[in-house]
């Protein structure tokens, strides 16, 4: 337990992932869902960096993590813009209201 | 100074000139303390047990003295008059002591580290606590010192101990800097508006005003609005304060005088300055007050916008120096003021101005102080805060000013290198003392502090001379002026550096050197002009304030 290894980080990552998924699944606020997505992305990043540190050591994992961060930033910008549009159209941010295309 | 009469001190009007009194007290303190300390140290060096004992119980004695002092303070009336006389010398002594402490502390740490380095050459390290010297080894290295000194040195080989001490220093800086900057700012504001500013507390130009205010704030009632989100409301103040402290962790004051030397220190500090805004936004939101929310939104807008030109302007010197490591960036600027990055090429020169403007915006200083604009938003994001929570925001703000100024100094103005080229002062003195003086003249943390204080002064100066601008103007200035400008500067700087490093030898180097000297000349002229104006102002200081009189207090 005292020597920290890859498994430790992966477990943390798994917990973060599950928390993110839970957030996505239970929050009705659009921004809340976005927050869940960010958690999930971060858990993936922890995975990448941890594998890079303990297994590969070629910094490919770190660079992948960098790209994930960049894409997450882009995704967040766009998603917030979409939320605002959503709000402009429906006057709410409850995603359950946004089911115009339902079957 | 003597032309002003401060009425409530007239009761204790002492005899003799003020200067002479102050000189006597300072001299007595320094001389007495110095003689005593040196004597004790010398005897301890000779292995005198009593002296060793004295040195050993020093801390305990100090604590006891403090207790006695507290008791004495209880009997305030009796010592009031003494304190009134001694206050200013104490201030001066504190400044001098801090200065020397900074200097010798740095030397001491370096020495300890070199000691460890020597020992590490032939010893394997063991990991826990990281120390590896035995007391006996230290005794062998320093045979003439008493045991307790060995013990003290032994203690300092552990990085954890050094870290704790350094952390203490950081807290000291963060607490002392805002306290005196607020006082200083009020004085400057007063002078700019043809008044005196605080004049009463502490007797000499109200130097203790902020301390008194601090005491008042601690005892003030801690109000939290009813509709507020209480946990967030409490959290927000710390979220605004803590990142700035963390920024100090990576900010070097001197070549070895840095809490942590990181190769991403620059990015780290920038990140911390960016995180500070989270606290402000949460404070605005948690207050449940529309003015606060407005202030928070403005802060968010402004911060998000100005981080980009600020970051771009920070990259310029990084490119010019070719490293992200702040220490290396500074060591690339030694050898005189014309080697400072701000004077290297025109793009960096302009980049410095851009960075300074963006840094004003990022610490919400005038003319970008929209988040707390008191004429529109009551007090912006901290409308609902009071007491010590309120003061945390101000600690954060002033500490942030220190950090951004420190970054400007490190990246553009030579860091802890002095403006003097080393060969000007080469061979100033003989022997160890001479070399120490030479070293002090060439570089050191004191130069760093001097430059930072100058930049802080400029910030205060700007605040009290420029009007606040509108939020749309703020964003216009960022997006349509600063952003393209810094981008162009980036490109130009890259090309210039490229040409400097990879291109023609003779002709280009000559052009580059001429430009360097021209910009250095502009900088020198600016500094000389500034000193000249300051001297002129000091010489004509009576004309500045006119015939103002400090009115008597109603109570006296």
């Amino acid at each position: 337990m005292l020597t920290i290894g890859l498994t430790h980080y992966l477990i943390v990552s798994a917990v973060l992932f599950c928390a993110g998924v839970f957030t996505m699944a239970t929050k009705r606020n659009a921004i809340g869902i976005l927050i869940g997505v960010e958690l999930v992305l971060n858990s993936a990043n922890v995975n990448l960096v941890a594998f890079d540190r303990y297994r590969a050591g070629l910094m490919d994992g770190q660079i992948a993590a960098l790209f994930v961060i960049v894409l997450a930033a882009a995704e967040a910008a766009l998603a917030v813009a979409i939320c605002m549009n959503f709000y402009k159209n429906l006057v709410t941010v409850d995603v359950d209201q946004g089911d115009v295309l339902r079957g | 100074m003597s032309q002003f009469s401060v009425p409530w001190t007239t009761r204790y009007r002492p005899s003799g000139s003020v200067f002479a009194r102050n000189a006597v007290v300072v001299g007595a303190l320094l001389g007495g303390g110095g003689v005593f300390g040196l004597g004790v140290a010398e005897s301890a060096l000779k292995g005198h047990p009593a002296a060793t004992f004295l040195l050993g119980i020093g801390p305990l004695a100090t604590a006891a003295a403090l207790v006695v002092l507290a008791i004495v303070i209880k009997a305030w009336r009796g010592v009031e008059s003494f304190l009134m006389r001694a206050a200013f010398p104490i201030l001066l002594g504190a400044i001098a002591g801090t200065t020397l402490g900074v200097f010798f502390g740095a030397l001491f740490f370096e020495w300890v580290q070199s000691l460890i380095g020597h020992a590490a050459n032939d010893r394997t390290r063991f990991t826990y606590f990281g120390g590896e010297l035995l007391l006996s080894e230290i005794a062998a290295a320093l045979p003439n010192l008493p045991r307790l000194v060995h013990g003290a040195v032994w203690l300092f080989q552990f990085p954890l101990v050094r870290d704790l001490v350094n952390l203490g220093v950081i807290f000291g800086v963060i607490n002392v800097v805002p306290a005196y900057m607020i006082w200083w700012e009020r004085k400057i504001a007063g002078r700019i508006q043809s008044r005196l500013g605080p004049m009463r507390v502490g007797r000499w130009h109200g130097w203790a005003q902020t301390v008194a205010d601090g005491v008042k704030l601690i005892f003030k009632e801690d109000l939290i609005p009813d509709g507020a989100d209480k946990p967030l409301f409490k959290l927000a103040a710390y979220l605004a304060f803590v990142p700035v402290v963390l920024a100090f962790v990576a900010l070097p004051f001197g070549a070895t005088y840095v809490f942590r030397e990181m190769d991403v220190a620059l990015v780290f500090i920038l990140a911390m300055m960016g995180i500070e805004v989270v606290g402000v936004i949460l404070a605005g939101w948690a207050s449940n007050n529309k003015w606060s929310v407005y202030g928070a939104m403005r802060e968010a807008c402004q911060m998000v916008a100005y981080e980009i030109p600020m970051g771009l302007a920070l990259i310029l010197p990084v490119i010019a120096a070719g490293t992200l490591n702040l220490n290396h960036i500074v060591s690339a600027q030694d050898g005189g003021w014309f080697n400072w990055l701000a004077f290297r090429n025109p793009f960096l020169f302009a980049g410095f101005a851009c960075y300074y403007i963006a840094s004003l915006a990022s610490c919400k200083r005038a003319p970008f102080d929209l988040p707390e604009s008191e004429s529109e938003l009551v007090a912006g994001f901290h409308t609902e805060y009071s007491g010590f929570r309120w003061s945390l925001f101000f600690f954060a703000e002033y500490a942030a000013m220190f950090v951004v100024s420190g970054l400007a100094v490190i990246l553009y103005l030579g860091g802890w290198n002095s403006f003097i080229p080393p060969h000007w002062v080469a061979g100033v003195g003989e022997g160890a003392l001479g070399r120490a003086v030479e070293g002090l003249l060439v570089s050191g943390p004191l130069w760093f502090f001097a430059k930072v204080i100058f930049l802080l002064y400029v910030q205060l100066w700007l605040r009290w001379t420029l009007p606040r601008i509108r939020i749309d103007q703020v964003l216009y200035a960022c997006v349509q002026v600063m952003l393209p400008l810094t981008m162009l500067l980036l490109i130009g700087n890259v090309l210039w550096v490229w040409a400097d490093t990879a291109w023609f030898g003779g002709g280009w180097a000559g052009l580059s050197r001429v430009m360097n000297w021209a910009l250095g000349g502009i900088g020198a002229m600016f500094m000389f002009g500034f000193v000249a104006i300051a001297g002129y102002g000091f010489y004509h200081r009576r004309r500045l304030v006119g015939n103002l009189v400090v009115d008597p207090l109603p109570a006296s």
Partner: protein
């Protein structure tokens, strides 16, 4: 010194680029006259200074040092990016061709910029109360950047990038008067036509990249040679490439590659059949016509062909020759009937470009490039002269309304005449002082192209197979007939095959003293750079090289004779129409007094004219010809085609050279053929246009000429043809499709529908209503019910989607774990 030259060339790109941005960002603030000066100094002045330094240094550098510098520049390319196995590098091509082209572009462009300041100031160029003056110079600066970049590019990739940039500048500048109704279509036409060519270029690039593996010019040439020798890569027997449904391989593919690369040149140099855009490009301001559409950009096509010369195959080269021949002849004929002074010059440009391309096609590598440079000088001057006339006459461009302008604008008149002489090939044949003959630039360059063409047409194919030649050179060893040229000193080393009979001899000679023979006989700079240990084998290497080339030459077929005669014909036509233009404009009596009264000329604009006139007279032969001879090394080791030096005054290393023995000196033959063509052309032209247009209009009315005139005036109906082919053609295809749709498909459809209707009516009443409906309704109701079930999950609630996907994933993982446990995994 070594790295400095290449860096100076690269540095010349900086200021034009910066100037472009300065003018774009702060152009309106800089103001009307000042923007021009900014453009002049930043856009061309600094590059000209740098270029002059390079040029002079290069001029006085010995061939060995040049070779070293070239190799050094080639090796000091910077790695920009690695895309898979492909290294993108950039650097500077530093050889004689680049230096000469760079200096030529800088020099001419500088004076044209200078001219533009005067020319554009006289305009009311406001659109919506905003002056476009600065915009013009911004475009010019961008053009300068792109053109200089194109010239110094060492790889086809960067060449292509700058190629497209100059295309863009051309588009912007042709459409400069975008408020008019004629400029935008002209710009579009230029752009689109060029895209057609560039499509071919891209195909060529694709083949180069795919098979030769690199886009670097040197690397590609080396790979081409190696692959040809070893039958790998492009020439591997099993490689077939399907393009447009056909398959290509080996030599055909290489030919396709060459033709593809040439397609780019066809577009940019406005060769038949993509020539249509250049006359319309005259819609742009006249300095633009001078700079871009006469002197520099359109010549880029020739430059490209020169650069990829080593990648050509005989078939591709013949294709180039044919295209050049067609262009040079037919465009010259059109120029006869043009009345617009700029259009006349434009067709003249087309014709001269045709000459250059034709020169490349017949292998006259140096001659074509030399013609490029001489033509750039005098055509720039002619256009600037026309610009002066147009500006002086308040934008009258019709020569019929001019006449007698020599009194009003004497400088323009006589400098224009110098240009006319130059383009007409004015020279005194047979008179020479040592090697320096008497004549203007156009005389030498055209003469040289024609000489090589003559040789290709009449003296080709008289030398033996390569092995035979080699053996003979070794065996007989006797000195061949004393060479009149000055390299007789080292000449015995040349692998002279079939010494008696052939009209083409090898000139693998040293330029200096005889002890260097072995060294320079080694041929290519690459070999020289390879090191001194090869010196001992240098002679063998040179002979081998020479015989190799001999073999190559023997594999190339002779030029069809009609192509040579077309070129000769044009040599007569050119003086005719140029003299006509000059005479109609400047001589005779004023035909429109209104125009004549207002005509004037200005210092600002005549200065460049004089400078360029002096340049035309002096510089081109003495400065550029030797440098181009040296540059020919770049084309010398082409494995499939040969480059022929038409003059060989300067020893061009390892080029095939014409035989100048008295009995077969083609120059002597040409003296008789076209030596006095300019006199004849001038005389005929003078006879017709002496008194204005009366005689010409009378000739025009005579039956065969009227048809001819109409044909030429309508430019062989090319615009109509393209309109018919592409525009109408598309419409016709559409109409046919519509017809088929209406009358075939619809008919069948209607027929079927009618039948079906009947059947349906029957079955509906009988089968459907009774039996099928029940069944079908049953199915539909089932489907409906199923859909009701299936649409339930489509709630639109993203949270449920998340739950479903994660839940299913969890279930899968759990199942996997269970299965593995059970299996003991």
């Amino acid at each position: 010194m070594e790295p400095v030259l290449a860096k100076l060339l690269a540095a010349s790109l900086i200021t034009p680029f910066l100037t472009f941005w300065i003018l774009v960002l702060w152009g309106p603030k800089i103001g009307k006259p000042r923007a021009g000066w900014v453009g002049l100094i930043g856009g061309m002045g600094v590059p000209l200074a740098l270029s002059a330094v390079v040029f002079v240094t290069w001029f006085f550098t010995s061939p060995e040092q040049r070779a070293e510098l070239t190799a050094a520049a080639q090796h000091s390319q910077v790695l920009w990016a690695q895309l898979g196995r492909f290294d993108v590098t950039f650097g500077v091509k530093l050889d004689s061709l680049t230096v000469a082209m760079h200096f030529m572009v800088c020099f001419i462009a500088f004076w044209i910029f200078f001219f533009s300041i005067g020319y554009m100031s006289g305009h009311a160029d406001c659109v919506h109360h905003q002056s476009k003056y600065w915009r013009f110079f911004a475009y010019l600066a961008l053009f300068a950047f792109s053109m200089l970049g194109l010239v110094i590019s060492p790889s086809l990739l960067f060449l292509f990038i700058f190629w497209e940039l100059v295309g863009l500048c051309s588009y912007l500048l042709i459409g400069f008067y975008f408020e008019t109704d004629y400029a935008p279509p002209a710009a579009m036409k230029a752009f689109i036509t060029n895209r057609v060519g560039d499509f071919g270029f891209i195909i060529g690039l694709g083949i180069v990249f795919t098979f030769l593996g690199t886009l670097d010019l040197e690397g590609a040439a080396a790979a081409f040679k190696t692959q040809l020798a070893t039958s790998t890569g492009l020439f591997a027997p099993q490689v077939t490439v399907p393009i447009f449904g056909w398959t290509f391989s080996g030599m055909t593919l290489a030919t396709l590659m060459g033709v593809g690369l040439f397609c780019g040149a066809m577009g940019k140099s406005a060769q038949f059949p993509l020539h249509v855009w250049l006359p319309d490009a005259m819609a742009g301001p006249t300095p633009v016509s001078a700079l871009i559409h006469a002197a520099t950009m359109v010549a880029a096509g020739v430059y490209l062909v020169a650069r990829v010369f080593r990648l050509l195959t005989p078939d591709a080269q013949m294709f180039i020759a044919v295209i050049g021949c067609i262009t040079l002849t037919f465009m010259a004929l059109i120029a006869i009937v043009q009345t617009d002074i700029k259009k006349c010059l434009a067709y003249s440009t087309l014709s001269q470009l045709g000459y250059m391309i034709f020169g490349m096609g017949v292998g006259a590598w140096t001659a074509a490039l030399f013609h490029l440079i001489t033509h750039a000088f005098f055509k720039a001057m002619l256009f600037l002269g026309s610009g002066q006339v147009i500006e002086g006459c308040h934008h009258v461009q019709d020569m019929r309304r001019m006449g007698g302008l020599r009194t009003k604008m004497p400088v323009t008149c006589w400098t224009f005449f110098v240009g006319v002489l130059a383009i007409a090939g004015f020279g005194i044949p047979g008179v020479h002082l040592g090697h320096w003959k008497f004549g203007l630039g156009g005389f030498f360059s055209k003469d040289e192209i024609l000489a090589v063409a003559y040789d290709r047409a009449y003296n080709w194919g008289r030398f033996g197979a390569p092995s035979e030649g080699h053996a003979e050179a070794g065996a007989n060893g006797e000195a061949r007939p004393a060479n009149k040229e000055k390299h007789a000193d080292g000449g015995t080393r040349s692998a002279e095959s079939a010494a008696g009979g052939r009209g083409v001899r090898l000139a693998a000679f040293s330029s200096g003293s005889s002890e260097e023979v072995q060294h320079s006989a080694a041929g290519t700079p690459a070999q020289k750079a390879a090191g001194s240990e090869k010196d001992a084998h240098g002679a063998e290497g040179g002979e081998h090289h020479a015989s190799e080339k001999d073999g190559v030459a023997s594999g190339i077929q002779a030029l069809p004779k009609w192509m040579f005669w077309f070129a000769i014909l044009t040599a007569y036509v050119t003086p005719f129409y140029m003299f006509r233009a000059w005479w109609l404009t400047f001589m005779g009596h004023p035909r429109d007094h209104h125009v004549h009264e207002h005509a004037h000329e200005s210092k600002m604009m005549t200065t460049p004219l004089v400078v360029l006139a002096v340049g035309t007279l002096v510089s081109s032969y003495f400065l550029f010809r030797p440098m181009l001879s040296h540059a020919a090394e770049a084309a010398a080791d082409a494995p499939l085609v040969v480059a022929v030096d038409g003059e060989a005054h300067e020893p061009a290393a390892a080029l095939l050279s014409l035989d100048h023995t008295p009995e077969r000196d083609p120059h002597k033959k040409l003296v008789g053929l076209v030596g006095f063509a300019f006199l004849i052309g001038f005389a005929v032209s003078w006879a017709i246009y002496r008194n204005g247009l009366d005689v010409a209009s009378r000739i025009k009315a005579i039956p065969p000429f009227n048809l001819l005139h109409t044909l030429l005036e309508r430019k062989y109906y090319f615009d109509e043809l393209y309109d018919f082919l592409w525009v109408r053609g598309c419409r016709a295809v559409a109409a046919v499709c519509a017809f088929i749709d209406t009358w075939v498909i619809d008919l069948v459809y209607n027929l079927l529908s009618g039948v079906t209707e009947r059947i349906a009516a029957f079955s509906g009443r009988v089968l459907d209503a009774q039996g099928v409906d029940g069944f079908v309704n049953g199915i539909s109701e089932t489907a409906n019910d199923l859909a009701e079930v299936l649409r339930k999950p489509q709630t639109g609630g993203i949270r449920k989607y998340v739950l479903w996907s994660v839940g299913l994933a969890t279930a899968a993982i759990a199942a996997l774990i269970v299965v593995m446990r059970v299996n003991g995994g």
